[in-house]
Symmetry: C2
Subunit: 256 residues, 2 copies
């Protein structure tokens, strides 16, 4: 078990903080510049908090820096933890941004969409990295106490997986958002679509998505596509996406 | 319990046929012009089959026509079942295409992506319609023996939900396909993305998608967007979608 300081109080800090506490590690302190957030998370983790960089405890072994990408880039101006193992949690930021903070640096990146208000927390694959094999093993061991799925991933691999997460999560979720808006506007019941959404996601565990594609685009069913486009007269965003996806799915099928 | 003839032998005919048999109805016959498919489905359903339109049994009460949209449009040339209740299963085709077949017509539309090889079958919301209240009630009762989720939906409502299914299923699945291709090409592990895909789908049961959007686009994180676009130099399809989604998510956020 490790002594840990959590730096940050947002979604990632909260969800990982709770996981770390539940795994039996000792959370020595929470740090956030926003007093209210610091107090809230410290209350959940039953530990003290600080709102001043200069008062960050030196008593821990691991420092988890769960801040925004922008804040990470200038962290060397605020934080110095020589001899400590310092990890950030960002998908698209090099571990090297931590070099001004310590010689021992690494990454613990949760490849999941984390929202502190959504319980239960989902399974969270953790991607780990560090600048020495010893620290990599240390972070991987720690990660293994938090998640059943831990893999090493260097800066570029992590960035590629982060890109993948944007494609499958952010963009699918935007499709859901537009579809929910459309249903509300047309007074139809969006929840009728939840089983097909769930099925589309679940079958990926057993089938390649290219092998399960269905629908008018891949069938080359121009009559149905035309009917759909007529329904979208007043839905500019959906129409743009409909046309681009239909074009791409048809091209993909024929291998153009 | 009803006596049913199944017309068709594709994914919808197979999945609904099995559901109908499992619900205890009597399947009198399977029809398909393709002998091999007819025999295969009849074997699964333990019933006789026919490959000639003229030999379709007159002994049933319900006729489920699970054919392609194109075949439905000309079904009046092949099939006449006066006095029988005839239903099709298509999302984007009016029930009126069945009027040349019988005066008693309706729809039993499964709002799900059905593939006969994917077991177990998922939950299947059924949308029902008919041209008289009596037949509507009869089809709804029948549907209730097959699914826990049955709703009435007229032609235009069904078409709108079919459009919704294309948006959330076909288009999300194309995103998954391109992402899986990308991972394979870049030698990274696509299965690491399955938990976030699953979570994105699951949380819709409790949260509106607009309230759970995350990622660089909605944060206005231009630096990360730039890094992602650089990775997509050789991925034209993904890049097109990335740019359109990022633009739309940012516009949506600011309400432009």
């Amino acid at each position: 078990m490790s002594k840990v300081v959590i730096i940050g109080s947002g979604n990632v800090a909260t969800v990982l903080g709770i996981r770390i506490a539940m795994a039996g590690h000792e959370i020595v302190q929470v740090f956030s510049r926003k007093r209210e957030n610091a107090a809230l998370l410290a209350g959940q983790l039953h530990c003290p908090y600080s709102t001043y960089w200069t008062q960050i405890s030196q008593e821990a072994e691991l420092y988890l820096v769960a801040l925004s990408d922008g804040a990470l880039l200038s962290i060397g101006e605020s934080l110095s933890l020589p001899g400590k193992l310092v990890m950030h949690t960002a998908g698209a930021v090099s571990k090297d941004v931590l070099l001004p903070v310590s010689k021992n640096i690494g990454v613990l990146y949760p490849l999941q969409s984390l929202r502190k208000e959504i319980r239960p927390f989902p399974p969270i694959p953790l991607l780990v990295d560090a600048n020495t094999p010893v620290d990599k093993a240390r972070i991987a061991d720690f990660a293994g106490t938090l998640s059943g799925q831990v893999q090493e991933a260097d800066d570029i691999t992590r960035l590629k997986l982060h890109l993948g997460a944007v494609l499958v999560n952010n963009f699918s979720n935007h499709l859901y958002t537009l579809t929910e808006d459309y249903c509300r506007q047309e007074k139809i019941d969006f929840t009728l679509l939840l089983p097909i959404i769930q099925e589309t996601a679940s079958r990926l565990a057993h089938f390649l998505p290219r092998d399960t594609q269905t629908g008018p685009a891949i069938r080359g069913d121009g009559a149905t596509i035309e009917k759909h486009l007529q329904l979208l007269h007043n839905y500019k965003n959906i129409k743009e996406l409909y046309e681009l996806f239909t074009h791409q799915i048809q091209q993909y099928r024929t291998g153009i």
